[in-house]
Symmetry: C2
Subunit: 132 residues, 2 copies
DNA sequence: TAACGTTATGTAATAATATAACATTTATAA
DNA sequence: TTATAAATGTTATATTATTACATAACGTTA
């Protein structure tokens, strides 16, 4: 269960935008979209993004430098994320598969390393793009 | 088994540098290091990096914007990569665990998506940093 | 409520990462 | 040898992200 966080003004504006978009958004596209709301500088966007990522309301899609609203209410606050990315239309969705997350959360090898977090990105073609 | 590729001059210079470094290197750090060899512009570096990634000689660590030599001779040419990253010392190593790669390569869900590639990054503390 | 510490905001400048566009050269193979 | 693809060189520019510093709002607790 996610802890309730009281988002600040900028955090709320930016979260709502990303959430409503339904897909990944890039920082400067966000900036462009919130300028009418008084958010004028990149840093204002990046600060809000940083906080939203920290509390698990959004995730960063590392391979795309983009941010997407968390679609998984039971997600362990960004400690365990998996995404599927269509390399043709760039559609992204969060994978919530308990077997997968259990498998990866429990993964360990003989490196002596203690894993506390992972991010997995799958690439391929989505249903639509496959049939083109 | 990896196909043999004849690296071009720039590709060889840049691969050798990354390989010898033993860890991840960032593009502009690479640029700085190869300037004495006549590679003067970012694009020359990025082009070589692009090709080296394409043929699987190096991998990009997406969360770090860095590039590391492939440490896994049997790796499926960058189609299936997994790394462990120490969040304290930033040491990165490639995970080659056949159970893991088999599990992920065969992963599928009911999204209708055909996955042809994945990248997994684990984060945590390495042995050394844990004991500090 | 006053004082304090923490979190968030505003603003300007700049750093770090990556690509576009175009001209030329080298390697490969038909 | 010719033509085709791959690689190179160069300049400029686009995109992504942070540093530094000043101020304001919020939450706690004395």
């Amino acid at each position: 269960m996610q802890k309730e966080h009281n988002l600040s003004k900028n955090q709320k504006i930016i979260f709502d935008l990303i959430d409503k978009s339904g897909g990944p958004m890039k920082a400067y596209s966000i900036l462009f979209n919130v300028q009418k709301k008084g958010i004028k500088a990149p840093l204002q966007v990046y600060r809000a993004l940083g906080k939203l990522v920290e509390i698990g309301k959004i995730h960063k899609i590392e391979s795309r430098n983009a941010f997407i609203a968390c679609q998984n209410s039971s997600c362990q606050v960004s400690k365990a994320t998996a995404f599927s990315i269509c390399e043709s239309c760039e559609n992204v969705s969060e994978i919530s598969n308990s077997k997968l997350s259990k498998y990866l959360s429990n993964f360990s090898d003989n490196s002596g390393m203690k894993y506390s977090k992972y991010n997995l990105e799958f690439f391929g073609l989505c249903k639509k793009c496959k049939s083109k």
